[in-house]
């Protein structure tokens, strides 16, 4: 884990600073900044030192849990503290949508393989997957405005309250719903043909128990893997949804920081993302054991 963080921060640090353009350019409206301003700026943020030394100074602080101060003279930890809760809320809503709708749809399709319900799920998920997220987002905003539902589902989420995040959460989760439904369906169909299912049926177990306890549980392992990975990517990769709904989240923050050459912010935000990925993967690994006791953690 530590080599991963050091590696990731170093690569990012070098990459952000290798981009053309300087962080102070564009801060002075449509004109050049005075030399004295640039000089004071460089001094304040150690930009007058060699890159490796800058990185070591940064790493020294990072080890003590200090993510540093960005080019707006704000502590990166404070910037993240404003945005991470919103992003986590949004990702959790999206994941909840995926789990509830995705697994239910997959289950229905799997049980009714080859029948109308199955075809409906397969075709409708295909349609959802093929529509870009900004189309879904903008159309949903338009629909809410047309139906005057703004007070139930606000069309933007500047403050990031749960209520405001429901609509964007649905939009964000809609793509993955399709994947989850298809994964669940395929695995369920496959497992329903397995020997142990026949045995269970032969034993006289009820259909609900055969499917709910014996088959679905086994079929969920790839789904859980996907959701774990998806959680990580939703955290940092929801830029489009964040912009459409004016959500102050991590994705947009990283995007803005990159375009403003605010390296300290980028590295700080991504370091936390790396941690999130690692923890999400750990949780997934632990869940495997719960779903399938054959996978043990000794």
């Amino acid at each position: 884990m530590i080599p991963v963080i050091i590696g990731a921060t170093f690569i990012l640090f070098v990459l952000v600073f290798a981009l053309p353009g300087e962080p102070w350019q564009g801060r002075c409206g449509e004109r050049e900044c005075p030399a004295s301003y640039i000089e004071a700026f460089k001094r304040e943020y150690n930009l007058d030192k060699p890159l490796l030394l800058q990185y070591l100074l940064y790493l020294g602080k990072l080890v003590q849990g200090d993510l540093g101060v960005n080019f707006y003279n704000n502590r990166v930890i404070d910037e993240l503290a404003v945005r991470y809760p919103t992003t986590v809320k949004l990702a959790l809503i999206a994941i909840a949508v995926e789990i509830v709708i995705g697994i239910a749809a997959g289950l229905l399709a799997g049980i009714n393989k080859g029948r109308f319900l199955d075809s409906l799920v397969v075709v409708s998920t295909l349609v959802v997957v093929s529509i870009p997220v900004f189309v879904i987002g903008s159309v949903s905003q338009w629909g809410v405005l047309q139906l005057h539902l703004n007070d139930i589902f606000p069309v933007t989420a500047a403050q990031g309250t749960i209520k405001q995040l429901i609509l964007p959460g649905f939009v964000l989760g809609s793509l993955s719903v399709a994947y989850v439904a298809r994964l669940t369906r395929t695995n369920l169909v496959e497992n329903l043909r397995a020997d142990y299912v026949r045995t269970a049926r032969a034993k006289g177990l009820s259909t609900g128990r055969v499917i709910g306890v014996h088959t679905l549980r086994n079929s969920l392992i790839p789904v859980v893997t996907f959701i774990g990975y998806d959680f990580g990517s939703l955290m940092g990769g929801a830029i489009v949804t964040e912009r459409i709904f004016n959500i102050n989240g991590i994705g947009g923050f990283i995007f803005r920081s990159i375009s403003q050459r605010d390296g300290v912010s980028v590295v700080g935000a991504v370091t936390v993302l790396v941690l999130v990925y690692l923890v999400a993967n750990l949780l997934v690994d632990l869940l495997y054991g719960v779903l399938d006791p054959r996978i043990s953690h000794d």
């Binding site: 801060r27 004295s36 000089e39 004071a40 003279n73 007070d151 990031g160 947009g252």
Partner: protein
């Protein structure tokens, strides 16, 4: 149907107001009674909220109501009127005597006195402090002594710490002496960079806290400043003439995404919006949607030009070629088709909103005439090889640059291509380093509403924004004379003469002036959109339900 929309949006507004007034955790506590609150579209300030540092609109809109200066620009006409100043007098446009009104207070209750101006300006001009707006103090005598020798503040400290041209007479009077006559000094003093700073600032000038929630002498003060919004409430110590009406101004950050702000305006979550998505601008759809009474379009104090690269040998000493290129660009069609009318074709180098504007200064190069353009282009020898038009790729400039290139290809037969730089910073860097050939984009947003502000900072030799490398001794001397004029009318005439000189060699080709769309919600009244294209937050009121 219409009434139903109104009723529902009123309900939505109440809900929105409840959400908006709650703290970031989102508990719905009702806002304070009285003047109500307005929600304005905001963007992230690039620098601390300090007049000495803020030079872009995001922070500027906040400072407009949080600070006050000696002068204030009238919301309707943009003419300067006395604010903190009781009077500013001069006999020679070089020595100004400033008398302050007594009893003008900062939001921490301390009084605004002459020394608050003198110390703030000295601090701003002193190079080691690294203030972004330091150059605004350049006209004041002694500015050069506050700069670091060789522009290297690490090695050399400036010889002095105080501007020689600022002298305190008594607690409420001081004098400003400028190095050269500066006829429009009074007008400049309305800009936020000239705001006074309280004692509390000097205790810890680098304080991040002051940069977030500054103490100013304006009608409002910042009470909270987060990544999502800046909240302003009335400064209870304010005694000036521009007291606000509403009890709360929320400056909600949208980070330039026009669709989110537009959706919020329609939903009634936002009261004032000055960016409208491109698809709404087409055919004035946004005006049809909201109605004339809730919208206005203002020509703003901005201009966009194509600068002729000073390093391009083909353009050197060939004004005819430059003129022909300007003449071949169909500004009318481009502004209509690409910008949906959110730009107005330029006919000179000065935006029409300012004092001293004169139309049609650009002459032939701004009048579309493809036939004559082709004749002049060929007569001038044409442009050999690839003519590049460089614009930054992050500002939505690609479309019009393509259109300009199409004009040049079709009308002149020039081999024109668009060169995109990743962002504005890169464009400025490459322009400064002389890497760009052909034409490149430059824009200018005025600092204060004067014809002078469109000429001196852009075309004077050695000016920071003189990307065209314009150098004309006659132009220089006319600017100097204009600055020395003792009355504004005479000064303006001289500035107009200077502007006309640009049409002899066309260092830049004027393209268009930006117009700002402004739209507001149904619950606000007394909306005055200033010449700068922004709402006068001190006049707006909210209906009480």
């Amino acid at each position: 149907m219409r009434t139903r929309i109104r009723a529902l949006s009123a309900a939505a507004l109440v809900a929105a107001a409840l959400v908006a007034t709650g703290c970031s955790s989102g508990d719905p506590t009702p806002g304070p009674a009285g003047g109500g609150e307005v929600v304005l579209r905001g963007c992230t300030a690039q620098n601390p909220l300090l007049g000495l540092m803020t030079n872009e609109v995001c922070g500027g809109h906040v400072l407009d109501v949080v600070t006050s200066q000696l002068m204030r620009y009238d919301a309707e006409t943009a003419a300067p009127v006395y604010d903190i100043a009781e009077s500013i007098t001069t006999d020679d446009a070089q020595l100004f005597t400033v008398k302050l009104k007594k009893g003008y207070l900062f939001s921490d209750g301390t009084e605004v006195k002459a020394e608050n101006f003198i110390r703030a300006w000295n601090y701003g001009a002193y190079a080691p402090n690294g203030m972004a707006q330091a150059t605004f103090f350049e006209p004041i005598a002694g500015y050069a002594d506050l700069q670091c020798p060789g522009d290297d503040c690490d090695a050399n400290k400036p010889p002095k710490e105080e501007l020689e041209g600022l002298q305190q007479v008594d607690e409420y009077t001081f004098t400003i002496r400028t190095t050269e006559p500066t006829s429009n000094m009074e007008l400049r003093l309305g800009y936020t960079v000239f705001a006074p700073l309280p004692e509390a600032f000097f205790a810890d000038p680098k304080s991040a806290e002051f940069g977030r929630t500054p103490i100013g002498s304006g009608p409002y003060k910042v009470t909270s400043n987060t990544a999502t919004e800046i909240v302003m409430e009335p400064n209870e110590h304010y005694t000036g003439a521009f007291k606000g009406k509403v009890d709360r101004i929320v400056y909600r950050i949208y980070d330039n995404d026009s669709s989110a702000a537009w959706a919020d305006l329609l939903a009634g979550n936002l009261d004032f919006n000055d960016i409208v998505p491109g698809d709404q601008l087409v055919g004035d759809a946004w005006i049809a949607e909201l109605g004339q009474e809730r919208t206005v379009v203002r020509t703003s104090g901005t201009i966009e030009v194509l600068t002729v690269s000073p390093n391009d040998p083909q353009f050197k000493d060939n004004p005819k070629l430059r003129q022909a290129i300007g003449q071949a660009i169909d500004r009318e069609t481009i502004t209509r088709e690409i910008y949906g009318g959110s730009r107005t074709p330029a006919t000179g180098w000065v935006a029409p909103v300012v004092d001293g504007y004169l139309a049609d200064q650009c002459g032939k190069a701004c009048v579309y005439d493809p036939v004559q353009a082709k004749i002049d282009y060929d007569a001038a020898g044409g442009y050999q090889g690839i003519l590049s038009v460089s614009v930054n790729g992050d500002g939505g400039h690609k479309d019009w640059a393509e259109a300009v290139c199409n004009n040049l290809r079709n009308n002149l037969g020039a081999d024109c291509i668009v060169n995109l730089t990743p962002d504005f910073r890169t464009l400025l860097n490459q322009a400064r380093d002389g890497e760009l050939m052909g034409l490149f984009r430059n824009g200018w947003v005025m600092d204060y509403p004067s014809i002078e502000n469109f000429l001196t900072p852009i075309y004077r030799v050695g000016a920071a924004s003189n990307y065209s490398g314009y150098n004309n001794p006659e132009f220089e001397s006319t600017l100097t004379q204009a600055a020395a004029a003792t009355n504004l009318a005479q000064a303006n005439e001289l500035y107009q003469a200077a502007e006309a000189m640009l049409a002899q060699t066309y260092p830049t080709l004027p393209m268009w002036y930006r117009t700002t769309p402004a739209a507001w919600s149904t619950r606000v009244d007394n909306v005055v959109v200033t010449k700068m294209g922004w709402i006068d937050a001190t006049q707006v009121t909210v209906h009480q339900p």
